[in-house]
Symmetry: C2
Subunit: 412 residues, 2 copies
């Protein structure tokens, strides 16, 4: 929720530490870039471990404000002074801010900025991201860079139609995209997105080529979440199956049923990426399940999220150690916790309007997590995790839940 901050001046940080800490625990405060629900849930996981959080966020009454002090992006120096180690919860955090905090850490003024800037840079640019995937031997949909209407024509020839044209930077939840079905669409697509190439318009934070992606048949979308510690050790969660509605995550089922044959490749992909990026913290990798030429199921990497991820919210109840706690453990240099599932669970997002909480809590095995946000159409304002003690009640509980949600998100 931090606003883009490309013009900020970065204060020279004093080298003396602002407060004395007992030597037994040199990190006491975690600075989080962003103050949305992800920051809120990170702080909720940090407090029982003995860490307080502060947030850099321009919305004063953001979800995270219930758990710690919020600094505006104009107060970056105060924010930096208040914390010992830094992380982010907002994917569009300016890379410069992260680089500056990393620099302070390499000078010994601060104790770390995780994940590193290179992970954020890759995640903020679809072309860099998919290029890295392929360089590391991780399959993706076919794609090409598009810097002009002429190159868009060439992309259509190379990839065939239909294809999806996207801004390589910015855009989320289906915004900044154009599906081309016939050659006649080329002009309209360029008219819609071409301005992003020169950086004009509202589509993208900086000039960057577009990316054209070939269409693939996929049977389902899954994601894998893992946490990497400062010593390089990695713990992976089970594969999760995700259901999107109108470009927004509606439901995650953990573990994804019938995906054990895909787990080794997914684990290998995320471990390779994390190691290559020298990543520390929790990361998500979104994958499509497709078929290879021989007709066998295979995975294609779509994108990474360099942070805790909506498709991992089930882990608060459904895993021995949640993605949030493991992220905190990683960035403060503590050993990671067990990522095994406790019981199968389903997480459902609440979009736009709040349900009647009494109706929700009448369902056995339900866990309600509000984000304390004002309602707004399609806004993620809460999530609900179903984990009944009797696994056979999981699907009936889902039906009961969707029945009482104002926004059914195609789940009925």
């Amino acid at each position: 929720m931090t606003t883009a901050d490309t013009t900020a001046t970065y204060p020279t940080y004093p080298t003396a530490h602002p407060s004395s800490h007992p030597s037994s625990q040199t990190i006491r405060t975690i600075g989080i870039l962003g103050g949305g629900q992800l920051g809120m849930m990170l702080a909720a996981a940090a407090l029982p471990l003995g860490y307080r959080c502060v947030f850099l966020e321009d919305t004063p009454n953001c979800p995270a404000s219930l758990y710690g002090k919020v600094y505006s992006t104009q107060q970056l120096d105060d924010f930096a002074a208040a914390a010992d180690v830094f992380t982010l919860e907002f994917e569009n955090t300016p890379v410069k801010t992260v680089q500056w905090l990393q620099q302070l850490s390499s000078e010994g003024v601060k104790q770390g900025m995780y994940p590193p800037a290179q992970a954020l840079e890759v995640a903020q640019d679809r072309l860099k991201e998919k290029t890295l995937f392929n360089e590391l031997g991780i399959a993706t949909v076919p794609f090409v860079s598009v810097g002009s209407q002429h190159e868009l024509q060439a992309a259509c020839d190379e990839l065939g139609l239909p294809l999806v044209l996207k801004t390589s930077r910015g855009g989320y939840d289906g915004k900044g995209q154009f599906v081309l079905k016939t050659p006649a669409d080329i002009e309209a697509a360029w008219a819609a997105l071409g301005a992003a190439v020169s950086g004009d318009g509202e589509l993208t934070p900086a000039p960057a080529p577009l990316i054209a992606e070939g269409f693939i048949d996929f049977s389902r979308e899954v994601s894998i979440i893992a946490t990497r510690a400062q010593d390089g050790s990695i713990r992976c969660y089970d594969l999760v199956e995700n259901y999107h509605h109108q470009g927004i995550l509606a439901k995650s089922q953990a573990p994804a049923i019938g995906t054990s044959h895909l787990l080794p490749a997914a684990q290998s992909a995320i471990k390779t990426l994390m190691t290559q990026l020298d990543y520390v913290g929790t990361m998500a990798l979104e994958l499509f399940v497709s078929k290879d030429i021989a007709g066998n199921e295979t995975i294609l990497a779509n994108e990474i999220a360099p942070r805790v991820h909506n498709s991992g919210h089930w882990s608060i109840e459904g895993a021995i150690t949640s993605q949030f706690e493991n992220h905190i453990r990683a960035i403060v240099g503590l050993p990671l916790g067990d990522t095994d599932n406790v019981q199968p669970s389903i997480m459902v997002n609440v979009l736009g309007d709040y349900p009647n909480v009494a109706d929700v809590l009448a369902i056995d095995g339900v866990h309600y997590h509000t984000y304390h946000k004002e309602t707004r159409e399609e806004r993620k304002i809460a999530h609900i995790t179903l984990m009944p003690s009797d696994v056979a009640q999981l699907d009936p509980a889902l039906q009961q839940l969707v029945a009482v949600l104002p926004n059914k998100m195609g789940l009925l």
Copy 2:
């Protein structure tokens, strides 16, 4: 942690509600009497459900202060104005305060004070408590009231020696008790505790007879925790086995192994008590496992705690719905959650000194909960719950944990 407040004047509370609330959620803020770790964990459970907490507590930097505003007992009227519904986390809360908040609720100014004053009155007086148990057909150790040295002599004759003489009010963790082994101890026992009868000295908050309790052979201590909703429905957790060291809870194992034959009687006892007291919220009942004349195992009720309880901390991870969340659900009038175990777990208290957190978290399946307190000998400053995904690792994990705790509490 609230200081006794017997001389407070109770402000006349204005009948107009201090803030307007959307009709969909008339309760938004919960006022908690006390701000220790129990209040902290109640607030942590309340926030995801959409409720904020404020606390009445004379220690400004108490554990709960990380989760909400703290009012001193001198600011009782401001505290009352800030909240919609009230509860307590501190057993020695003045009954008068609870009665006043209950009165405001019965006048419709506030929306409830749970549990009710009569539950607190019973819990604060060992004589009233055990008398109520027996009236309801719940067995206890034999006991008599002692108001003079002469009555102490009579108690020794009636109950036999050894016996335990206790103040009926005040005292905790073994304080305010005297074990009489021979008739020669009568004088010393009376010299130590007799002042409590007239209310002199520091032993007890008000004049009250002593209680003499007969010794019984018991094989172990267990407790049952349950939550009662406003509609009278009750959900019980499994029996837990507790291990005390020097009068302080060291370890709780959930569920208690080999106690299924005792569960019906324990559930019946706590349900009877809760219904009789018109209780709303979470309550604990401590029990001794003894043998009847026929040699069969049986339970004897020791005492109730009219609040969430240390022997239920395991439920944060080990039960589908924790004792804290169910207490919050009960007091705001929401349906109760499933109390089933997720996996077997062991909770260990951290007393006096903090361990090295990295050593603790290196144990798989460990959950660390610090209370952010200054260290002090024998003080409860954190708890740790062990819930490894492989149940066979539970005992090895306990050994690993105790090895890295500064205070072993007799667990090695």
